[in-house]
């Protein structure tokens, strides 16, 4: 599985998803976010949710994708360990159809860590480089 990374930020966390495709990078960025919150190894991918978001560019699309997922921890108390994403161009820019696989949060079993509050525009970056595609942003913890 492609890696995710964290880059230094003084007050919060910069998450970076890396993949051979932009979709894979988006999935890894989501894993990076949820790894801040829980031990991913302890999350069972038993329930699926679907996500559809639009944005004018790939970077804002990353923000929209992560925002919906982060909100689920409060709306449905779900945390996720596996993701699938398909991105297509649209009249307004880009459309993402995605899914997250996870289960209801159990703070003790999942070894709850930090709460991610939101996705900032700081460090927001989606591009293809030597390592492959990178999807990166700073999340507020």
């Amino acid at each position: 599985m492609s890696p995710f990374k964290y880059l230094d930020h003084t007050a919060d966390m910069c998450v970076q998803g890396i993949g051979t495709s932009v979709e894979e990078a988006f999935c890894e960025a989501a894993r990076a976010v949820f790894n801040l919150m829980v031990d991913l190894d302890r999350v069972v991918p038993e329930t699926r949710i679907q996500v559809s978001v639009d944005a004018s560019n790939l970077e804002f699309l990353l923000v929209e994708w992560l925002d919906v997922l982060i909100g689920q921890k409060d709306l449905s108390r779900m945390v996720f360990c596996r993701f699938g994403v398909n991105i297509v161009t649209s009249n307004n820019g880009f459309r993402l159809e995605g899914e997250g696989w996870g289960e209801e949060l159990n703070p003790v079993w999942h070894r709850a860590k930090l709460e991610v509050k939101g996705v900032s525009y700081a460090g927001l970056h989606v591009s293809k480089g030597k390592e492959g595609w990178i999807a990166q942003c700073v999340v507020d913890v």
Partner: protein, 481 residues
């Protein structure tokens, strides 16, 4: 690039597209760090952020940074900026995701000696009673209609429901109820995310601390605030929880569109903004008021729970735990200040900074007007916190603003590598501080060594003349999410 203009005061001259200078209140060590980050070209760089804020339309006088300054999103943390109402903008990054995150401090009739024997039991009771950490749920469940009432009435709604004293409201900023709140400007998702979170502490740098007044520096102010050396107090640091976070997220998107719509020139995407007098700007301000009221309500519920915990363990009447003050440090407010010798209304953003009005202001509680309201400054869990107050100098130089904490020195990543949660816990125990936390990793990230020296930050604010220390507080019990 930086000119020293006072003992702990530095000017960043206008260059490039800056409309006003930068003015940084800080000690030499902090200034050296800011310069080094700039010279190394670090991506997140508080000095560059001060300069970028100075480029915003309608900014008045200067882009300010206080002694706990460190990089934020667009605005530095510890950043203050005032804007003209007609030509200025409102900036999401100047408030942040945790709208009206702040501190409430309570005083008790107890002394350190009187809690020595029950400290462990008190820590356990508070750890059980105060919902904290990821996934925690509040004890107060609200309907959709009630959430809207919280957004408008803030702490008052909670007190009317029986979770607190009428007196509490006198000692909360704005009476615990920000004017101009419109629940119609807050998304359904934001409200739904909040249903289970009213009265929860959160995680990260949020905390509840039982502290003792270790030192009194300003006898007059301490007396007016009802604080005595050796007295036990409690400080609660939390904010608007998921509702505030979602408002911040929703309006970041709105403001990004508005920045383009109104052809606003901003130096960084994180400074997404809208004219104050625009639909977008007015909606955002109404939504921020909602988020702010949610934070006041949140801290009010936790206050009620704390009173209950202390009553159970220490046998004191709940009403004997009295509110000293409740103040936010992520806000945007309409205030009146003297600018170029004339009083005028401006919109002030304080990101990781508090209001710090000196004597004589009607915004302060009546009994505090002689000295000004308290500023509640969270230090680290291993060192100290402070209660300070504003000054006339601060009113003139810093729009009546104050520091909010020690400010981070290490990233969370570096802190997690350098410190081990259990070692931090042991080290605190050796100092007589009981730490109960829901996340061991969280302890490492919040280790005292991850923060600047609070003593130096307080000293810089004092030397700059903008804030003055009243008391120092030493932690006895720390509850973390």
């Amino acid at each position: 690039m930086l000119e020293r203009v006072g003992q702990a005061e530095w000017l960043v001259p206008v260059t490039g597209e800056m409309r006003v200078p930068g003015r940084i209140f800080a000690d030499c060590g902090t200034i050296e760090q800011l310069k080094a980050d700039m010279e190394e070209g670090k991506e997140w760089n508080a000095l560059r952020q001060v300069c970028q804020v100075a480029c915003l339309p309608g900014i008045v006088t200067a882009s300010l940074a206080l002694p706990d300054v460190h990089p934020g999103y667009g605005f530095p943390i510890g950043g203050v900026a005032a804007f003209d109402l007609d030509s200025g903008v409102v900036v999401v990054g100047g408030v942040g995701f945790d709208i009206n995150c702040g501190v409430r401090t309570l005083r008790t009739p107890l002394t350190e000696e009187s809690v020595v024997d029950c400290k462990e039991e008190l820590a356990e009771q508070l750890f059980c009673d105060i919902p904290a950490g990821l996934g925690s749920e509040g004890k107060l469940r609200l309907s959709v209609k009630e959430i809207d009432q919280v957004l408008v009435k803030g702490a008052r709604f909670v007190v009317e429901r029986g979770y607190g004293l009428e007196e509490d409201l006198e000692y909360i900023e704005e009476g615990g109820q920000l004017a101009g709140a419109d629940p119609g400007t807050v998304s359904a998702v934001a409200k739904q995310r909040q249903f289970r979170q009213v009265g929860t502490l959160g995680s990260g740098n949020h905390y509840l601390e039982v502290q003792v007044v270790e030192e009194v520096f300003d006898q007059k102010a301490a007396g007016i605030y009802g604080l005595r050396k050796g007295e036990v107090v409690i400080s609660i640091h939390t904010g608007s929880r998921a509702l505030g976070h979602q408002i911040g997220q929703d309006y970041l998107k709105e403001m990004a569109k508005a920045t383009n719509k109104y052809n606003l020139s901003v130096q960084a995407r994180e400074l997404a903004c809208a004219p104050i007098k625009s639909d977008e700007g007015e909606r955002y301000l109404a939504a921020v008021a909602c988020g702010g009221n949610c934070a006041f309500a949140n801290r009010q519920v936790i206050t009620h729970l704390v009173r209950s915990s202390f009553a159970r363990v220490c046998g004191i009447p709940p009403a004997s735990v009295r509110t000293v003050y409740d103040i936010g440090h992520n806000n945007v407010k309409l205030e009146h200040h003297y600018v170029d010798g004339k009083e005028r209304a401006v919109l002030i953003h304080r990101k990781g900074a508090t209001r710090a009005f000196g004597p004589g202001r009607e915004e302060s509680p009546v009994s505090y007007r002689g000295v000004g309201h308290p500023i509640l400054v969270g230090g680290t869990m291993g060192t100290a916190s402070y209660i300070m107050r504003g000054t006339e100098v601060g009113m003139k130089k810093a729009f009546g603003s104050g520091i909010h904490g020690a400010g981070r020195a290490l990233s969370r990543r570096k802190a997690a590598k350098r410190y081990w949660g259990e070692d931090v816990r042991s080290s605190l125990k050796d100092k007589g501080i009981i730490l109960r936390a829901h996340s061991v990793r969280g302890i490492a990230e919040e280790a005292p060594g991850a923060y600047k020296d609070i003593e130096q930050v307080v000293k810089a604010a004092t030397e700059a003349g903008i804030n003055r220390p009243v008391v120092r507080l030493r932690p006895l019990i720390v509850i973390k999410g």
